[in-house]
Symmetry: C2
Subunit: 352 residues, 2 copies
């Protein structure tokens, strides 16, 4: 407690990201990073920006990147917003669009940053419990709401909604902003972007950290009606005019231009997920049906915290959450086949 | 006006950054960029990060960069905060440290982002008029305050306070946070960092965009008591865990390790400023005594807006502000000698 802090600062409960340990020969399956790596074209574009021109500010509107995203996703540039990772895009969305008199709704088990943003921006919220099978039930959102945010696939369960279900949610609540957080959508789920044309209240948020393997570069974006994008831009331009540096803008554009790499990356993660799921099931785990680049799994005979600690002894790091309903589970990133093998062999030693 | 926007969004008046036009052969003297360019070592470090490891998240705490900054500035790593440009660092400082019951004080003529942050975070503020010579008068800050922020040198005047004057300000207000925004300090003014050891209420904010010519990479930082830094970290970790990508962290470290380049860059800007000042005075301008990498100048016979527009016709872009007291002035970046020559020759044609 400090007399120099604002009262807001005292009240915050910051998000705790998965750790980035520096341990040699570690099997790092805790932060859903992509095993294949970024497009070589993106790397080349970043190298090209390591030049004298770095003395100049980047384009504050990131016009070229927004135009490229617009073409890629078949929308207009005015329907695209970019930010420093999808976490920053989400932060601006919470401030610009999700704060209203009626409460914001999101699932009780979901991305744990959402309640952190609510505290930062003073947003009243209500959580909607997942069903028995840990699935989001759209019918349960039929209640008064100032706004709604739902990840699709949900995190950390990995379970996805169909585009038809998202459309049903939008039609339940045509008068309030609905954000679909699609950080993991490229690994088999359906994006809601085609619904933007017919739903002025829809904002879709995506990231280049997972399917484009650019977590180290910090690029996220949102697609929605120009009116929603203008709200994000107003908040962004009241916070930081230049969130994306020149290497980030160039790398992102080049990544979008390498569709073959992107498709290869997606396919490899999807294959790896099936392999990981089979291996975990053979080892006695229950595995939720994931369409993300991770699986959420529990062992009927072993506590999640104990398993995570034991894996760490074998230099395998997975993510464990202590929240109610999910403390038995481990969230395990889909890595390379070799990483999956090392995980499974560590588990077989731990489980005896 | 949109029903989907939060009420905050409606109330914002976003900051407008200097434009980044894409005109060939333009003399761009509007956003205080460094003519020399970044250290070749920084560029090499950025190229080194264009690698497979970009698939991994960066260190959210930027520990290596903070340690390097701590060594460089002779403080402890716990006394260092880093962000996505000094604008982001300032944004977090406004939320974390500058919002109190009593009003925030800052000069009436200063960085125009300050009132924008106040509106974003709902901070009450009072402006303190500059003196007749456009200087900040510390004695005028002897009034009730919840917090204080002062740029040193001030922008857009370029006029600096001495470290002794900053110390006097700190001693006037030992019980409230005082932020010294030193974006331009490396071009001849005295940094307040040595005062951090004896003043728990002091936060010094610096940037790598100007003296280190890394505007395109987005790196800012703050130095202060660990208690103030903790407040910034709490807000940052409630907003975006990973504001600095891997290329940015590596480039910043390498830049700090190239002291010779930094000193050369500073010296060249200081020399260029003297040359620009002499040229403008010869052309009939009044030039405020600047210790920044820009000068603030007015011509007794010509309006600022008209001069800026005329210069633009000659492909020379400078910054003009419409605010009272400064609408007659132009803010002109210290460029290369060739850019200064082109500016002066355009002025001589305009002024006849």
């Amino acid at each position: 407690m400090s007399r120099f802090w604002s009262s807001l600062t005292h009240d915050l409960k910051p998000y705790v990201p998965g750790e980035q340990p520096r341990i040699a020969d570690l099997v790092k399956l805790n932060t859903n990073e992509n095993p294949l790596g970024p497009s070589p074209r993106a790397l080349e574009a970043i190298r090209g920006e390591a030049a004298d021109t770095l003395r100049l500010y980047p384009d504050p509107q990131a016009s070229a990147l927004r135009a490229t995203l617009a073409t890629y996703h078949r929308v207009q540039p005015e329907q695209v917003f970019v930010g420093n990772g999808s976490d920053e895009v989400l932060a601006h969305a919470f401030a610009a669009l999700l704060k209203h008199d009626a409460p914001l709704l999101f699932p009780d088990i979901t991305y744990s940053f959402y309640p952190v943003y609510c505290r930062l921006f003073g947003i009243a919220y209500e959580t909607v419990p997942l069903g028995e099978a840990m699935q989001i039930r759209i019918a349960d959102y039929r209640r008064p709401a100032g706004a709604i945010i739902v990840p699709n696939p949900n995190a950390p369960t990995g379970i996805a909604l169909s585009r038809r279900e998202i459309a049903a949610l939008l039609e339940q609540h045509p008068d309030v902003p609905v954000v679909i957080d699609e950080a993991y959508v490229d690994f088999g789920a359906e994006t809601a972007i085609p619904l933007v044309a017919s739903h002025r209240n829809l904002l879709v948020v995506q990231t280049m950290s997972k399917s484009r393997a650019l977590a180290g570069l910090r690029i996220g974006y949102a697609i929605g009606d120009a009116d929603l994008i203008e709200a994000l831009t107003r908040v962004k331009d009241s916070f930081n005019s230049y969130p994306l540096g020149r290497p980030a803008q160039a790398g992102a554009i080049a990544s979008l231009e390498d569709e073959a790499w992107f498709q290869q990356s997606r396919a490899r993660v999807i294959e790896g997920r099936e392999r990981l799921t089979r291996g975990l099931k053979s080892a006695g785990f229950e595995v939720l049906p994931s369409l993300a680049n991770f699986v959420f799994a529990r062992h009927p005979a072993h506590e999640g915290a104990a398993l995570a600690a034991a894996l760490r002894q074998h230099a395998v790091i997975v993510r464990h959450f202590t929240a109610p309903r999910i403390s038995d589970y481990l969230r395990i990133t889909v890595g390379t086949d070799e990483q999956t093998n090392r995980l499974l062999s560590a588990l077989s030693r731990i489980l005896g």
